[in-house]
Symmetry: C2
Subunit: 365 residues, 2 copies
């Protein structure tokens, strides 16, 4: 049996998807977990799922994890710090500087508060969707600040929690965290929503020409408005800083395309695309590497089991697949699998797949 | 043997990826294909690949397909119309109104010109990457205009070509085509490039937090600057119309986030996200349906064959997978497969996968 690094009792306030998932994972390690929520029925549901037990009057939690919507974080953390003067308190909100400032304004004892941000990807669900595995392999940001009483000890407690949940701890100070998530998460949400909004009054014949590029670019535009109002409001400063610079760049493209024949217009457009190339190249791919893979695009008939057969045959060919994307073709009973492999394996895989009768719709080094 | 609908000879001008792929597909159907390119070595290469034969002095092509970069389309089409007064001429450029206007200015006989736009997804490669299957299942826009002499006959020739290549013919007039692709392809390219450009001077710790949302939103930002300068320049009007409206929306979000506590600010942000929801819902999913699937997120150990095993076991469970996305977790030797299934199949698949030992990191209806 795996021994928990985390010493309980751990009190979880807010038993939605994140809170209940943390509870499930800690319970699986034998940690004593206390569940609390403003809704008594939410607590009972999470207890039914095995995420922990009800609170008792003599509870002395060592660690409190506040898992409530961003708007409520500061007030709940302050209340917990004051109710449990021996406990270390953390939260899981996706913004870190705002709650810290609010806590200071509220006069809370922030020497026992360290913020967390597990980048678990999804923020929908509730306890019914909770999974002990939710955090496995995800970055877990530990947001430091200067007023933590015993920073090394506090960090090690949060790090133990992250490791117990299978997450990858990453230390960042609160301001740097907020600037970072503004760039990699909050601004992309705004940009994607604004782009998707342009489709709302488009002609049907236009949206029917939509390809994979548009699908990818607008995928996150399906996110919940309620949650994003809170996140964007709480991180408005860093987000709007980036949006101002984004608008300056947009203005340059608009000026160039308003007069596409003017001197310098082509150069402005070329630089926009080239700057995008440079930025995209900085995003880590699989296992943090930059992407330098060859791609094969393979036609996959739309019948059950065909994709499984393709992947099995790629495995049989002894080729390790680095990435896989599926593309659907509007109106056609066929899909495409874009397989990424190391460049050295491309020709061999191409030959093997053709021998086995797969149709190759593209091959790119 | 499949009989070609297309009657040759077909002359292809420009033997890059698209031209050579059209040649390969037509040759496979036994059509006489003549290849021409400004570069003699490009023609010889395409002939070596089996995409057609060299031109001869007495060629009398019935159909000419111009497959050159957007900037050159009008001048080459005009030259072909004049050199072959009995032939119907089409092209494959991703912009349709500009070349048509240029042809009229050049005094070309546009009564024998019908534009095409095969939405084949990729525009990189050259003859070396050409595939007879490149167009299978992809929309092939036939761009009509008022000066075509025998529109029914012209359309049927282009439709036959599209069908011979396995593509799905879609008729649109040139202006409507250009507005449509501005919306679903050209503007998303600009937006994605501008977003990715913001990463070029970002801190390493920030880009290391990048998740799937940023990866998807910036995937097309890796496109070629040279090609996009031509496309955006040629379709500047429709693109900039949309960008102006996009900037108005962006300004509203910026104003709201500049003063997030002001009356109406939260509402403006909520409406931005909600408008994005509405737009994203209009994009056709698999087989043109709107997306109403349940999602399971399954942990996949990063070992060869694991994903193939997962898909095989999903097939064994008798569940048809509607979509599949892979997510990589920076720094972790594990990935996640997001499987979409019809909602009725979700619970059963969840149970089957858990019995077989798969870890489920999320389940969403």
């Amino acid at each position: 049996m795996i021994v928990a690094r985390t010493r309980g009792p751990v009190r979880i306030v807010g038993t939605g998807l994140l809170g209940a998932s943390i509870g499930l994972a800690l319970r699986a390690l034998g940690v004593d977990v206390i569940l609390a929520d403003v809704s008594p029925s939410a607590v009972r549901l999470a207890i039914d799922y095995g995420a922990g037990r009800a609170a008792a009057a003599d509870d002395r939690p060592k660690l409190i994890v506040v898992c409530v919507p961003p708007d409520l974080v500061a007030s709940i953390v302050a209340a917990e710090l004051s109710a449990y003067p021996d406990a270390l308190v953390t939260d899981v909100a996706s913004v870190k500087l705002g709650p810290l400032s609010e806590l200071r304004e509220l006069g809370a004892d922030v020497s026992r508060y360290v913020g967390s941000h597990p980048m678990a990807g999804r923020e929908r669900g509730g306890a019914v969707s909770a999974r002990a595995d939710l955090f496995v392999g995800r970055p877990w940001v530990i947001a430091n600040h200067d007023d933590i009483a015993d920073r090394r000890s506090a960090d090690s407690v949060i790090e133990a929690l992250a490791l117990d949940l299978g997450a990858v701890p990453v230390e960042l100070d609160a301001a740097e965290h907020d600037r970072s998530v503004a760039l990699v998460s909050h601004v992309p949400q705004v940009i994607s929503s604004l782009l998707a909004a342009r489709l709302s009054d488009a002609s049907t014949s236009a949206v029917e020409l939509a390809g994979q590029g548009l699908r990818d670019t607008t995928r996150i535009a399906s996110s919940e408005p309620e949650l994003w109002v809170q996140i964007l409001g709480a991180n408005a400063g860093p987000v709007v800083d980036i949006l101002h610079r984004y608008r300056d760049d947009l203005d340059r493209v608009i000026a160039a395309l308003d007069e596409p024949a003017a001197p310098g217009a082509r150069r402005a457009v070329a630089e926009t695309i080239a700057d995008g190339n440079a930025g995209a190249a900085r995003i880590p791919g699989k296992h943090g590497q930059a992407k330098h893979f060859a791609q094969l695009i393979i036609m996959v008939p739309d019948k059950p089991g065909e994709l499984a057969r393709l992947l099995t045959e790629i495995g049989d060919a002894g080729v390790n697949m680095e990435d896989l994307r599926l593309e659907h073709s509007p109106g056609a009973q066929v899909g495409f699998a874009e397989i990424s492999v190391i460049p050295e394996a491309e020709e061999r895989l191409l030959a093997e797949l053709q021998v086995r009768g797969w149709k190759i719709a593209g091959a790119f080094a």
